[in-house]
Symmetry: C2
Subunit: 432 residues, 2 copies
Amino acid sequence: MALSKSPYKGTRDFFPEQMRLRNYIFSKMAEVSELYAYEPYDGPMVEELDLYRAKSGEELINDQVYKFIDRGDREVAIRPEMTPTVARMVAQVHREVAKPLRWYSFPNLMRYEKPQKGRLREFWQYNADIFGAPEGLGEIEIIQVAVAIMQSFGANSSHFEILINDRRFVDSVFTEVLSCDDGQKTRLYRLVDKSTKIPMEKVLEEALVILQDAQKVTVFQKYLNTKSFTEVKEWLTHSQSTLPAFLGRLETLGLDEFVKFDPTIVRGLDYYTGVVFEIFDKHPENRRAVAGGGAFANLLAIFGEQPLPGVGFGMGEVTLTDFLKTHQLLPDLSKQNIDILIAHTDETSEAHVLALAQHLRSKQIKVEVFLGEAKPKKIFSYTDKKQPTFVVMMNAEEIASELQFKNLKTKEVHKLSLNNMDKIIEMIKGSR
Amino acid sequence: MALSKSPYKGTRDFFPEQMRLRNYIFSKMAEVSELYAYEPYDGPMVEELDLYRAKSGEELINDQVYKFIDRGDREVAIRPEMTPTVARMVAQVHREVAKPLRWYSFPNLMRYEKPQKGRLREFWQYNADIFGAPEGLGEIEIIQVAVAIMQSFGANSSHFEILINDRRFVDSVFTEVLSCDDGQKTRLYRLVDKSTKIPMEKVLEEALVILQDAQKVTVFQKYLNTKSFTEVKEWLTHSQSTLPAFLGRLETLGLDEFVKFDPTIVRGLDYYTGVVFEIFDKHPENRRAVAGGGAFANLLAIFGEQPLPGVGFGMGEVTLTDFLKTHQLLPDLSKQNIDILIAHTDETSEAHVLALAQHLRSKQIKVEVFLGEAKPKKIFSYTDKKQPTFVVMMNAEEIASELQFKNLKTKEVHKLSLNNMDKIIEMIKGSR
């Protein structure tokens, strides 16, 4: 029986058109990262399972991780997220290197998901993290990087918003106002996490089960109805709150037009301890998170290292691509970029074709050689499909006199001799 | 107990310095590929195991593949090589698209190896393939691409050579001259494959076991002693041999200085059917293959598709990096590339730092912000480590008059006002 030609369930084949899109997205992200002095890194695609046991949420380990036993009896997993790896790497070097560390990467990750829109089993995810920044400043820079990346694709505040919360604030409401113990807190966090997906009635019912007190449920409901930073300030009793400074910096940088307080953003993963945020698509047909991240005080503890605060975020290419398509922000990447197609129509000219191609490539010109002699008709039908900027069909007679370079965009024909190589190069580069 | 900070056995962490090296290598490869009109593609990191069962060698499946059963009871494997994936992808589209297909990729692959020099469990491998080229021409182009990649790193024929053989030639010697049946042929191929790693005496002993005929062993020994294409021609009886045309084209392109016939190159994998080659390091301390590839007539048959001839090669970053290090062909990538570090030495200037940074980044200047106010001494000690091209320390007084931009390469100090933004940008870009 013939083998299946389909990729494994929930994964994708990136044919050249899709790959150009992925490369376009990654190159923009890398460009912005470098403008902010972030450095590239990567880790292995497989890690020992213990790394995720220690830090990732339970759901990830039990239901979503691709795990197996290797031939040396080690429990290993294909990476489902990058943060544990980056923490492991930072733990190795943080004592020797200048801080803050600013790192970014584009790992391929796998999660055992039910494939659906915006969700696949294999996906690539941009990650940016800053470790060891002074209090409050890493958060701002990470949000700057996130916004700059969105802007590099042509997106603005009509397309996306950044929904923000602070786990310190939520913690203080739960602990100080609602007097929750740790168990109640965990359950309340989970309830908040899913509160936008179920009716409010249900949410309050569950809150009553957890809090066992109708008055507390009313306070919890008031929390869920907090709509702005101004209202957040009303909750705060601490003079040491970092919120005013944070908001002031967002304003200075003009980031306040993107940012909105949202009490339902708490981020499922266990390691966040401060500001948490999600970039949300504003389009009514694609209301979902494009990216998410936050601040963590103590990712290195599991490696027996001193605390080093960090802030980071991840942006998956699947959801980002959906976002860019929804808002028609993608350039046309359907065609390969070829400067010139060189063909020959008689048997004797092959060596000249190869020599011209080789010379032009040494000048950084993208050349496709039409392999083997062919009739003009066949060559034209091929150029119709491939759409190079120029085409030249060589034969002995024209090689001895002048070649005809046809510009397929302008339909102009330029007659130039092979002795006039500088002109040929100038013409091709000038048409880019 | 604290978790291990080490990566999983046989895999690597790419800290920024190593990542810049990997990016450097890949960007050169991508650049050359695009000059030859090859298009990028990628496939999933996990494939169903059957794909490798059908095409990869037995050793790969039994001893080297990372395989496991997924939660849906599918037998899957982390990709150990890219050729089965590219064949699967080409099988999906080859009937609709213009041929030849020219594709390249940089997959991360895993094999269950005993880690040693040049061999790791996880590695990245450049792959280039051409499908559907006219007879003999794909081989030439693929060798051109391979040589151009080596040259893009500054390597020449004093550093590497391309060892070539042709499975059609070996087949004809084994079948027509030595009258081998299929079983003997397979065993003889394996013997040739390892013939350089064991003493000749042993090789001939094993050949006698296989061939059962002392005279045939003498012929086999003569085969192993074939030293040049001229000697190969003496073996050939067929007038239809493609060898003269192949050699003629190599000469035309000046590739003959790199290419050498080698009877021991047969490539272990089952799918090669024509020209096979390996790029070998000439350095006596690093005599190993940097890349390998060849021509295959029928990779698509397992998908129930019509035959489509192809030629391809793979080049791993581990062996290539060893090669480049051995010959000192790598640039210095130890330092991050930062145009300017912007700091402030008083509390009130933070907003100006952030505004200047944001403006310069909008002009594609790489800016690191020194987060938080600091004393000049601390800032200088940081710039000593990070080595940006410029450093400027802002304070209220200088913001109101002139800032001092210090060029750390030339030690010059340029005094410029913030009103003179064009000059600031010109100065920074001019120092690259």
